[in-house]
Amino acid sequence: MNLIACVKQVPDTEAQIKVKADGSGIEEAGIKWVMNPYDEFGVEEALRLKEKAGGTVTVVSVGPARAMETIRTALAMGAEKGVHITDLDNADAFATASALAAAIKEIPFDIVFCGQRAIDDDSAQVGSILAELLGVPQVTIVTKLEVADNKIKAVKPIEGAQLLIEAAMPCVVTAQKGLNEPRYASLPGIMKAKKKPVDVKKAADYGISADFKAKLAKMMPPPSRPPGKIIQGDDPAVKAAELVKLLREEAKVI
């Protein structure tokens, strides 16, 4: 099988995010960069399918020079090769998906995996736009996947139900937590990854311009919350009663 995993480099979940004074972006100093956690599930699923059925896993990433580390991480986990698309900073989802689609169209594929969203911009659009641009079906936010007879069967949780969805390959699947438990890269894996091929392309090589349809005009810190009230006292029952009273009479939420 020919499997593709799209990956994005993002700040670690424990990172403090500070907005630059002019609102043009975030302060990158001191940030630890990692593979988007949802993309890890996609890489892992692609590797498991390859290990079962044979084939190749190609990692594709849009990102600045530092994103190469994330591609190497996926190669160290076991992917065979990579494509790194640069020169598309501050891209919207449509431009990012267009670049990914252009790169993927040059590779035969059965399933393209994406994370269900990236934990930096939280946009959750790229996988579906990519599916549309590739002209293939999508199943998003997948927690369980079976592949047989050139078809996928996927479980997708929605509010109050689970959907079982079937689609013919080729297709795009976006991975949700629960799909699998991603492996760590082994030391020999990390050594081997250094020699695996990564094709570095500029967005312009695919005819993608920086003329974005949605623009991040301004960033700002979250609204600050007023200081809270610590309910004092020794008796849990008294404090609990006071809390319930406040929720009822002051906050009016119960």
């Binding site: 959750a124 139900a161 991040l216 919350r225």
Partner: protein, 325 residues
């Protein structure tokens, strides 16, 4: 010149979901500023009767495609139908709810319409006749304002954030031929397994009672379930509790779980790791119960109790029960 504020109504099993009224009310507010009409796109099977209900929330016109192929949401049938009517009528603004199915449809539409969209918005306004969307990023560690260079200007509305306001309008129904057949559905829903517990999803819950590492084990969540039952709340969990296998993954609140905005979030035995705070700090009111006075969760909390949660929570349940009956 593109005109009109549109939204896609979300129905399930023939009933409109609350997010549809949130979209309708928001569309009305925007349209009153731009001097436009509010139009809804409604897809389903035997759903014509729902149009009047949309009219209650300010909808002038409903574009209806009623056919068995739309009985169940499926990406291909819904996206093809909405794209067809949107391309034909060219609205300026297209809103969808950022529910699980709403975001699947919305994102596919961005591809079909080759346009821009702001996901998961919490505030929308008109500036110089154009839409400006405000949304949390990095799970709420910061916010961004999105502007649009193409039409339709698309935005996904975070559930439970935008107010619902009655404003009765005609909601004239115009049926359209979506030109969609079963053969167009490439990703087929073959089974729907309903959760019979009746539990409201965390993303749509008005009250959440959440437990973390301080719960000490899966069996102790019973005290949170009891409190939740009294308050009509949904039980959530921190990543630590989910990773320990105490609670299902679908219960996780945080940057790698669900990002939630309930009216009330009660955090029990949750210290407040930054990835957790990111997922719940847009809650309207936050309560923290933790025996560690230095736990970071207290910096976000409106009300805090520094004590043993195993003593406090059952007392809160008792007090709430005597108040609420």
């Amino acid at each position: 010149m593109a005109k009109g504020v549109w939204f896609v109504a979300e129905q399930r099993d023939g009933a409109l979901r609350k997010v549809s009224f949130e979209c309708a009310s928001t569309a009305r507010k925007l349209a009153d500023e731009t001097g436009d009409e509010v139009c809804a796109v409604l897809l389903g099977s035997g759903v014509e009767g729902l149009a009047a209900e949309l009219g209650k929330y300010g909808v002038d016109k409903v574009y209806l495609a009623d056919a068995p192929v739309f009985a169940q949401y499926q990406t291909d049938s819904y996206a093809n139908a909405v794209a067809k009517i949107v391309k034909e009528k060219a609205p300026a603004i297209l809103l969808l709810s950022w529910s699980v199915l709403g975001k699947d449809l919305a994102s596919r539409l961005v591809g079909k319409l080759a346009t821009g969209m702001a996901s998961d918005c919490v505030e929308l306004r008109i500036d110089n006749g154009r839409l400006v969307a405000k949304r949390p990023m990095y799970a709420g560690k910061c916010f961004g304002e999105i502007t649009f260079a193409s039409d339709p200007q698309m935005a996904g509305l975070r559930p439970n954030v935008f107010p619902v306001a009655e404003n009765v309008k005609a909601a004239a129904v115009e049926k359209f031929d979506a030109g969609v057949s079963d053969g167009d559905v490439k990703a087929k829903v073959v089974e729907v397994q309903k959760d019979t517990s009746g539990k409201v999803d965390l993303t749509e819950a008005e009250i959440i009672v959440s437990g973390g590492r301080g719960m000490k084990g899966p069996e102790n969540y019973a005290i949170l379930e009891e409190l939740a039952a009294v308050l009509g709340a949904t039980v959530g969990a921190s990543r630590a509790a989910v990773d320990a296998g105490w609670r299902p993954q679908s219960d996780q609140v945080g940057q790698t779980g669900k990002v939630v905005s309930p009216n009330l979030y009660i955090a029990c035995g949750i210290s407040g790791a930054i990835q957790h705070l990111a997922g719940m700090s847009s809650s309207k009111y936050i309560v923290a119960v933790n025996k560690d006075p230095d736990a970071p969760i207290f910096q976000k909390a409106d009300y805090g109790i520094v004590d043993d949660l195993f003593k406090v929570v059952p007392e809160v349940t008792k007090a709430a029960k005597s108040l609420l009956g």
